[in-house]
């Protein structure tokens, strides 16, 4: 397995209660966060080091409450633009 650097920017829009989201890689739960920052123009940059075999993998950012909305932008794999479904090589 080779290590790869994955990043994704998570934005949120909310008013009273912040949205809560979880991050999964290939169905494995990595973390759960509350997005407590106000304003739609700020974001959390999730930096995920993935040690995976070459092939297709999936990153999922899933909101788990009904407060506000989240969206993801600017996914990169090893510094180059990618998508939530990403492919790794050696």
């Amino acid at each position: 397995m080779t290590e790869h650097n994955l990043t994704v920017d998570v934005y949120a829009r909310w008013s009273d209660v912040p949205p809560r989201y979880r991050i999964y890689v290939d169905g494995d739960l990595l973390t759960e966060r509350d997005f407590t920052w106000p304003g739609h123009d700020v974001f959390i940059r999730e930096k995920i080091i993935v040690a995976v075999t070459p092939g297709n993998h999936t990153l999922k950012v899933v909101q788990i409450n009904d407060h506000g909305t989240i969206r993801t932008e600017n996914v990169t794999l090893n510094g180059t633009p990618s998508s939530l479904d990403f492919t790794t090589t050696e």
Partner: protein, 372 residues
């Protein structure tokens, strides 16, 4: 020759500016001027000069915005130097039949008057009056070949997206941080109506601000071994427990690597948020920004959300298995060596070396077996 002496004097009012972009505050000034001097006498002059940040819009784009607000196309003049009358006239849009019979007035905002040294009206070095003069009494003006007059016009306050807006700089900042819906509202507020062309121009010239992240959250992912692989290694382990001799050297090595890897997986957990120096004192970092999964919680969460194909082997169990595997491996090596000593006719010095090797292996095994 004063205006009062001119035969049918003509009035020419120029409203010059950068207009980055033109907006309804500018349009209010234009309306003010046309109300005062007549629609046919007022022109807006602007250049095609652009730079990336402060002046992103070309003349054509500015002219589009002007017409969107309601300025007639034939009242818009392109001039490289909009404050110079000769340069404005070179555009060809304005027809001045007799300069000696025409008075020119430049409309300048209070803000520009305060900031631009061109409008100090101080006498020249030779003591003569400069070309531009303040407009005090229109009846006491001279023709455009002698002087141009500066008229101060008020700045009209207005709101965009509910926020008071006084300058293009403020507006560009607001637009760059707005989302799509807000941008459409801004365009309506700016020009009185929304068009997709206006949005395209604005989006091209005022890109979304590249915000810095408020937090950088670092997580590490090392996947668990797949169920099918688990089954294979469990079978190897079963066979090994029955009789180590049933496994080939390659299979033994595979099993060893698998157990080592299990250990690695369990030790690589952990996520967190790295705050910058500026962010370090922010209570949101120490309170509710992050609710990371704690070590050991992954298995519980996977099970709770029905995401796990098979529950992973607990860490301590894997370590115990690794330890037992290594003890067994050392025992088999010791047995092999003992067998060689008894069955093979080896030179005495080799036998001695092998016995020393046995002692070392036994010491290693004793160390592993010690479990306080």
């Amino acid at each position: 020759m004063f205006l009062t002496e001119l035969a049918e004097p003509t009035l020419l009012v120029i409203y010059p500016g950068r207009f980055q972009p033109f907006h309804k505050g500018h349009y209010a000034v234009y309306e003010y001027l046309t109300g005062k001097f007549g629609r046919n006498n007022v022109y807006i002059a602007t250049s095609n000069k652009t730079d990336n940040a402060k002046s992103p819009f070309t003349f054509a784009e500015k002219a589009y915005f002007m017409q969107l607000t309601g300025v007639p196309a034939d009242r818009i003049v392109q001039a490289t130097q909009p404050y110079q009358i000769q340069n404005v006239l070179q555009s060809g849009n304005i027809n001045v039949a007799n300069p000696a019979n025409t008075v020119v007035i430049f409309a300048v905002s209070e803000k520009d008057m305060a900031e631009d040294p061109r409008f100090s009206f101080a006498p020249k070095k030779d003591g003569s009056a400069p070309y531009f003069q303040p407009l005090r009494d229109i009846k006491q003006t001279e023709s455009m070949d002698k002087h141009g007059y500066i008229m101060t016009v008020p700045t009209f306050d207005f709101t965009v997206a509910g926020q008071p807006m006084r300058s293009g700089t403020e507006l560009r900042k607001l637009y760059s941080t707005a989302d799509q819906q807000e941008r459409q509202e801004i365009i309506k507020d700016l020009f009185g109506k929304y068009t997709t062309e206006a949005e395209q121009i604005m989006n091209n010239k005022i890109p979304a601000e590249q915000a810095e992240p408020v937090a950088e959250a670092i997580s590490q992912f090392v996947p668990a071994q797949k169920t099918s692989q688990d089954g294979y290694y469990k079978l190897l382990a079963y066979r090994y427990r029955q009789n180590p001799g049933l496994l080939s050297a390659k299979e033994k090595q595979e099993l060893h690597d698998y157990i080592q890897n299990l250990k690695t997986v369990k030790e690589s957990g952990g996520t967190g948020v790295v705050a910058s120096k500026k962010q370090a004192n922010d209570p949101r970092y120490s309170t509710s920004l992050t609710k990371d999964v704690r070590p050991g919680q992954i298995n519980k969460s996977l099970k709770a959300f029905n995401l796990a194909e098979q529950e992973r082997e607990p860490y301590q169990q894997a370590v115990d298995r690794l330890t037992q595997h290594e003890i067994d491996h050392l025992s088999s090596l010791i047995d092999e060596i003992k067998q060689r000593i008894t069955t093979e006719k080896l030179p005495a010095k080799y036998v001695e070396a092998l016995k020393q090797r046995i002692e070392k292996l036994q010491a290693e095994r004793a160390k592993l077996a010690f479990n306080p």
